[in-house]
């Protein structure tokens, strides 16, 4: 894909940006809590930045940043007090919209005729505010919106939680070595999908946040923060910081004709090569902010009178995932990695009209052996049997 | 009811249909009509392959004995050719072929046909093309059967 210049957010007349200082950020957290939102945001825990409940600015990873590389993540101290001076940890917001495990229903069998009645689990959708959603994560939420709410069937829990979620985006002021949002046209500037957006401005003179509203709800919250109006220079400074972040991105993924490239090379030797490294550990699918596969477990209690159905996250890297009578369809790591990558980057486009990858790089960082999907695509592209645009999977099969 | 002559019959069967009429005439010269009762054997494994058949009516089962049981491994019916081992040295049959029901067939004398093939390579090639297609089809069918298709 030709790298498109990110569209800049053009403020409307009622959309006057404001400046919030660190105390103002604290007021925002307090205000959200006052309005009944559970505020979820980044926190340092177990050596990583994770998303959890935050009550005050001090709960945020103030003064922390991280080093990321394929298969590597390490928190390090900053030499300043930046609040959002890091990028992404292993958590994606999907866990708060699409819970990793939940009960769907509970059935009770009557003593007499063995018939059973089913009680559906009530839909739980607490009001929640996401604080610190990055541009790539906004894109990931938009992708999951299409998956869970865009088709004939809507996931009622996702839809209810989504409706009750307030989003405060944060523009990235630095890039991790694993980031490639610009290639996927999702960042680093947050363009849509947020109620409020913050850009942290930190220099010798000041430590403030440019506050911009993306929705009516966001505007009404902003109005209650008694923040100072921003001047055009502040907006320019915020844009400049994000532009520097874009320039600092080192990783790229060429998405030009990627669907045909991958489907035209389903028997490329690179799949064998990557399979020799892949452990099929499922990490990439668990940290991925768009992976949506789930399974169900049917259980009974010890008396056998009560049965339940639970839905849990699943991964296409497990052997069970493709099991049909007689065995799994995808027995080898080669087939499973190929399934994941071709789905993420190619068939997702057919299914949902968008790529399944937002360029967050989590799968690269959290792969225990450091497999890098951008590298895998590059390897296939550079030695493709068939270049994109001229292919059908059949041709690739013709030599068999 | 019209009685068909052997050349007429050969002209209707896909296997021989597009052969030159003179070649069909020649083949007819090596052929005769035969009839089998249900249960009679048309071929016996290990015996000399002295002829081959065009099945006109009824069907024939290729059989194999395995573990003291007799299995039918393929059936050959109307319009199909039975037997190709007459073309390949040492010219002996590999399976038994038994009439499942009353069978009418045309039997071709293998020696007569082979000698003509040697003398007239154009005729020989035409016949070989047809038989190699037949052998390939049977081989393919056997391979598919090995895949246990309906598992």
């Amino acid at each position: 894909m030709a790298r498109r210049t990110p569209k800049t957010h053009t403020p409307g007349p009622d959309d006057a940006p404001m400046l919030l200082d660190v105390e103002g950020l604290g007021r925002l957290i307090a205000l959200l809590a006052e309005e009944g939102y559970v505020v979820l945001g980044p926190r340092v825990r177990d050596g990583a930045v994770v998303y959890d409940e935050v009550r005050r600015v001090a709960d945020l990873p103030v003064g922390w940043t991280e080093e990321q590389a394929p298969g590597r993540y390490r928190l390090v101290r900053r030499d300043d007090e930046a609040v959002f001076g890091f990028t992404l940890g292993p958590h994606a917001w999907k866990r708060s919209l699409f819970p990793p495990r939940r009960r769907l229903w509970r059935a009770e069998r009557s003593e007499g005729d063995g018939a059973f009645t089913i009680a559906e689990e009530p839909v739980e959708a607490p009001k929640q505010a996401f604080l610190g959603v990055r541009a790539c994560e906004l894109a990931a939420i938009a992708v999951q919106d299409r998956v869970f709410m865009g088709g004939a069937y809507v996931d009622p829990v996702y839809a209810a939680r989504r409706a009750n979620t307030f989003i405060v985006a944060v523009n990235c002021t630095q890039a991790a070595a694993t980031c490639f949002c610009a290639s996927m046209d999702t960042g680093p500037q947050a363009r849509s999908g947020f109620d409020l957006a913050l850009t942290e401005l930190l220099d010798d003179d000041r430590h403030v946040f440019l506050l911009e509203a993306g929705t009516e709800t966001g505007r009404s919250f902003a109005a209650r923060l008694s923040a100072a109006p921003a001047v055009p220079e502040d907006v320019a400074a915020a844009r400049a910081v994000v532009a520097r972040t874009a320039e600092a991105l080192t990783r790229t993924l060429d998405t030009d004709g990627i669907r045909d490239l991958l489907f035209g090379n389903l028997d490329h030797p690179r799949w064998d090569e990557v399979a020799s490294r892949c452990l099929a550990c499922t990490n990439c699918t668990l940290v991925c902010p768009t992976c949506f596969c789930s399974t169900v477990e049917d259980t009974t209690d010890l008396t056998g009178a009560v049965a339940e159905r639970w839905q849990t996250w699943d991964s296409c890297f497990t052997m069970d995932f493709s099991y049909i009578h007689g065995g799994s369809v995808r027995k080898t790591h080669r087939a499973r990695y190929r399934q994941w990558l071709t789905h993420k980057l190619a068939s997702w486009i057919d299914q949902f009209g968008t790529s399944g990858c937002v360029g967050c790089g989590r799968c690269i960082t959290w792969c225990p052996v450091g497999i890098d999907l951008t590298e895998e695509v590059r390897a296939i592209r550079e030695s493709a049997d068939i270049p994109p645009h001229t292919t059908s999977a059949n041709q690739a099969q013709a030599g068999r | 009811m019209k009685i068909h002559t052997i050349p007429e019959i050969l002209g209707e069967v896909p296997f021989f249909r597009d052969l030159k009429p003179e070649y069909r005439e020649f083949l007819a010269g090596c052929a005769r009509n035969v009839h089998f009762k249900a249960g009679e054997f048309l071929l016996l494994a290990g015996k000399k392959a002295t002829h081959f058949y065009l099945i006109r009516e009824g069907h024939v089962a290729l059989e194999m004995e395995a573990g003291n049981k007799v299995f039918s491994i393929q059936t050959i019916g109307e319009g199909q050719i039975l037997g190709w081992s007459w073309l390949v040295p040492p010219y002996t049959w590999h399976y038994d072929a038994r009439a499942v029901e009353p069978v009418s067939a045309i039997s071709f004398d293998a020696k007569c046909v082979r000698e003509k093939c040697e003398k007239d390579p154009v005729f020989g090639y035409e016949l070989l093309k047809r038989f190699s297609r037949l052998i390939a089809e049977r081989l393919m069918a056997t391979r598919i059967q090995m895949a246990d298709l309906y598992q």
């Binding site: 869970f148 789930s294 049909i324 | 007799v70 298709l149």
Partner: protein, 283 residues
Amino acid sequence: MQPPTPLQTAAHPMTPVSGRVLRRRWETDDTFTLDIEVAGGRPFPFAPGQFNMLYLFGVGEVPISISGDPDDPSKLTHTTREVGVVTRAMRRLRPGDTLGVRGPFGSAWPVSEAEGRDVVVIAGGIGLAPLRPVVYHLMRHRLRYNRIVILYGARSPEDILYAKELGQWSARLDVEVLVTVDRAARRWRGNVGVITRLIPRAPFDPENVVAMVCGPEIMMSFTVLELHRRGVASERIHVSMERNMKCAIGLCGHCQYGPHFICKDGPVFRFDAVEDLFRVREF
């Protein structure tokens, strides 16, 4: 024609409705048929080719194609083979027992599109079960179709599904039924050989036929090769695909097949929609 959508009784599409077993009968050594009445005797309309998710209390849920008569929505009929935990438990169901039903799901065989044409139904093994509703439909509306040919292959004579009905169909003068088995003992008087051998001489016009093929992928794969050789274009061939299914509503991701979700885009596909992926191993 849009195939029927699931009975909506619950807020969540993952919640089954209850059904009661009316009858269970054995078809072969390991294959049985269940007739089920949906709670309250509610009619259960479906299109040939669609499937249900059948739930056994506490044991689990499996996708099974509907194999009954689409013109009789008063009961649901499913034929299945014991191949896993759920189906093994299902064989113990007795009349009066309760199970859960979600459905019907998925796409349908093109019975309307085939009107005025020859129809060839090609089934292998238990693949006859999802096609039986098609045969019922064709028989009931016989005049809408030109020639009707049913080709069926099974491993052995003992594995033939719906043997009695196959006999009844083949007794009709307006339907051609050809059955073949892979191997047989001597008492079998029918065809022996793979199903593909029935195709070259089956009485249909390759230019004007609709082929509906169901069986294991390997069987469908060789069948399609033979249909192509006969001159039947991919656009006139339809196949029914199988992959793992958990939700049946396109949300759980298990049944993906390239761009398709078998549960909602399939299980019945026009062959040209899946042709490119069909022989890719482990896909």
